[in-house]
Symmetry: C2
Subunit: 518 residues, 2 copies
């Protein structure tokens, strides 16, 4: 049977042969990042590694910017050591990481030499599959990292940051896929971080890539679950020919996370598609992570329902809560509606970037500033950089008037070149700075850790010898959950968080007391 006939016949007759659908398991990276504030410690992952390794996954995603950051910021864990442990405990499964193109794991562009060294070191330490993306889908921000991956002999997966706008079309995404393949990517990922990819669009995009780039082009689909429709999108993507889909074991799935691995396995039963996953091990893993989850109660996302409003606003849930907290800090919590109306205008002025880290924060913060202080009266440094081209090219032209305002508030000139071309070799300088830090062991790994997170690395180097901290707690030892706060909380009131200042009346006198739960 021809691959392209698949969708056409899958309902109509008994399957004569089944196509194996590969699965990437997200629980060690994006899943706990999305639903558990990236706090899971290596100690709680280790007991699962044997089953993860033997369950039959195509790959296990286990490394990325937020997990790296969390390791050194909260867990006093060396992220390179974590990766080495995964490699040792999962010898049979591809280990996968998410790489922000020229940003690597940080929030700025790095000079090419640093990109090369980072990729080499990650490959050497254990990464098999590098998923490389850029927030603006500017291919120039991806190509150096992709080339570096290819030199190591590892799998370079080029990711399309999926979004919806008046300018984004299936054809445009397909063209981007072609470019990624031209640059040497071994496969294409459709990366839908905001759960905007609807079933029909998923079908069309996967089919479009296969039609344009060849049936043999490996296509993988990554979707979040926030809007509640994306398991259907995975089904349609598979019918259209997708080779691999991402999922997360159910204890850390749904809400802002991903679709449950178990559900992906089961939904294919009886179709002409199947996964190779070992259901016994999957169940064991589910049971294991069900014992881990309650230990991180205080870090769990309070979103468990679905948020289809995202389809209208195209503003991801995480971005809304960021803007809400910015407004509240300015005692302007009542102006959210204005901000929500402002976001699409700022996004249009900025040339319709996908709203994903860091563009979501840049656009959202500028929208807040516009509402509070007048339209483009005050610009953030990041918004200036975005308007002047320092993050790369956007799909649409940026508003010349706003570019002029940005240029007027900056000493920089607008640029159109690849942003990283403006950077000078920086490795020696980074190395020198890192080696001066107490506790830095002088290795390239430590230099890279410093390069990625220069604010956080110094404290980590200084405390590393104290060993990892596990932030999980015995459920009985945690403060009781707030009644009503739990599963819903998009009702505008927001959960109570600490530290909080209370007015406490004690023996008739009111004291202002700031408290933090013990």
């Amino acid at each position: 049977m021809e691959e392209k006939d698949r969708a056409n016949v899958c309902h109509e007759r008994e399957p004569e042969m089944t196509k194996k659908i590969d699965i990437t398991e997200l629980i060690l990276r994006d899943a706990h990042q999305s639903v558990m504030a990236t706090r899971m410690s290596l100690e709680d992952m280790v007991p699962a590694c044997e089953d993860l390794d033997k369950a039959g996954y195509w790959s296990v995603e286990c490394w990325g910017g937020a997990t790296f950051d969390s390791c050194i910021r909260f867990l006093n864990e060396d992220p390179w050591e974590r990766l080495r442990t995964f490699r040792r405990l999962m010898p049979n499964t591809r280990l996968q990481m998410l790489l922000r193109g020229q940003n690597l794991l940080g929030y700025r562009h790095y000079e090419d030499g640093v990109v090369d060294r980072f990729v080499e070191k990650a490959a050497e330490t254990g990464i098999d599959v590098f998923r490389v993306f850029d927030a603006l889908n500017d291919i120039r921000n991806l190509e150096r990292a992709v080339a570096a991956v290819r030199r190591t002999g590892k799998h370079a997966q080029g990711a399309i940051s999926y979004t919806v706008s008046p300018l984004h079309t299936t054809g445009g995404f397909v063209d981007l896929a072609k470019k990624l393949l031209d640059r040497g990517c071994n496969s294409i990922c459709i990366k839908d971080m905001a759960a905007l990819l609807k079933p029909r669009a998923a079908y069309d995009l996967v089919r479009g890539i296969k039609d344009a780039c060849g049936e043999e082009t490996r296509v993988q689909v990554h979707v979040h679950a926030t809007t509640g429709v994306t398991l259907v999108s995975l089904m349609k993507a598979i019918e259209a020919g997708a080779d691999c889909v991402d999922a997360a074991l159910s204890p850390l799935s749904l809400g802002p996370g991903h679709n449950p691995t178990e559900s992906v396995v089961e939904m294919l039963q009886g179709t002409e598609f199947e996964t190779d996953l070992d259901k016994g091990r999957i169940l064991k893993l589910k049971q294991y992570f069900n014992t881990i989850r309650p230990r991180y109660q205080e870090f769990l996302s309070n979103i468990t329902g679905v948020e289809t409003e995202i389809f209208e606003s195209q503003i991801p849930g995480g971005m809304i809560s960021n803007m809400e907290s910015q407004l509240k800090q300015q005692k302007a919590g009542d102006r959210m509606a204005e901000v929500l109306a402002e976001v699409p205008k700022v996004r249009a002025d900025a040339g319709f970037p996908p709203l994903v880290t860091p563009s979501s924060q840049i656009v959202g913060t500028q929208a807040v500033f516009n509402v509070l202080m007048g339209k483009y009266k005050v610009l953030t440094g990041e918004f200036v950089d975005l308007m002047l081209g320092y993050y790369g090219e956007t799909i649409g032209p940026r508003n010349p008037e706003v570019i002029a305002i940005a240029a007027g508030k900056s000493t920089k000139e607008p640029v159109t070149c690849r942003p990283a071309d403006l950077l000078k070799p920086e490795w020696q300088e980074l190395r020198k700075a890192a080696l001066e830090l107490p506790g830095c062991n002088g290795s390239d790994e430590d230099v890279l850790t410093y390069a990625m997170f220069p604010q956080v690395a110094p404290k980590f180097f200084a405390t590393r010898d104290e060993g990892p901290k596990n932030l999980g707690k015995d459920p009985g030892a945690q403060p009781a959950a707030a009644p009503g706060a739990a599963p819903v909380v998009d009702n505008g009131k927001g959960p109570v968080r600490s530290p909080i200042t209370y007015n406490v009346k004690l023996k008739g006198i009111t004291h202002q007391v700031t408290v933090t739960p013990a």
Copy 2:
């Protein structure tokens, strides 16, 4: 385009015309029954009725056994009055109820005269669509109720209790659909109360019914969300030709509930199917029920993930928790694995009934008895009745040895007739008993209330004058939820939850202070 070609082409070209998919909204009945222990009061439903009425639903399910029971048991509400209120506030939308065939809303078979009177009264009071099902799929337990509905001129929907067993086949369910149509049903419902209906099976079953009974046969699909795959099943059912699907607004969806209405609407965008729902009203309804849900915190289901184990065990989640609590009462909580292994054996001995109320409880309790007291040493009265044919016919033969044991422990003989044929007219007797109760107003409605719930009605009649009780509570006034019960907060600091007792150090002295956020 021929209806039967639909699934074949839906992905392949731009839709030239779209088919309207009808939606039944479950939030006033099955949704709060499944995720909020059926506790929502009429007072909290009333503000939603106008939007529900004008949102464009095909029907609003709002009445059934558990809601009727909860009205008189917990809420001191007259269920007939509730229905009259719905009728008044939703003049434009079909009101729908779930009827357990010859059991009506109770747990025993009623004599035909009672069935007729109940249906007449329900139709007169406001029900437009009667979804009629039998736990054993014994058509004889449905036909009297269906005939009664048809006499009122209302819509009789015959429901297939979907299950999975070695004996249940697509062909068998299609035959049942034919029989239901022969008996006069206006439409067919595939009722999947345990979330067992996988996408492929959903497609095959809908298509099978359409092929066998004609494309014009109206098919509606009701699925729960427990296993996480059934939104995909709804998509495949729609591709196969389903005309209407059930959904619940997201604040009371997922887990043991249903798929979110918003997600059903959105997943169809861009396909050749669409709903007619008014998204603005849907969003307004979502926001409204998000304010209601926290008021019922103490009644919320603690299941928010997915349970694909059900596919293996075929034991619905609710049944497992019942058995667990039975075992714990007997201080045998450690014997769950034995009980889980026993259930399929008991189900096989009983001729493979679907596991739905009441068969799930009957089979589950007998499995517990078998484990604790020896195989069929002690039988429940209900299990005896099931084995002797007093619930009707099962799909498979029942084990003759177990029938003999049941007969030996009972004064009853095995029967093969329609169980209700054994009953004598009982209306006058029920009427006489009801009228003797203090507070009974002598109406047929009160007699029917007594007939359905003879244990509960007397107290309700006696207290009715005190008026409805709303069990919802201001979230701040509720006892704190158990840690681990529900997900909370992701800001990393550990949420402050109220009320909480802190040790507060003030001017060197530690005070214990209990605080509630203002």
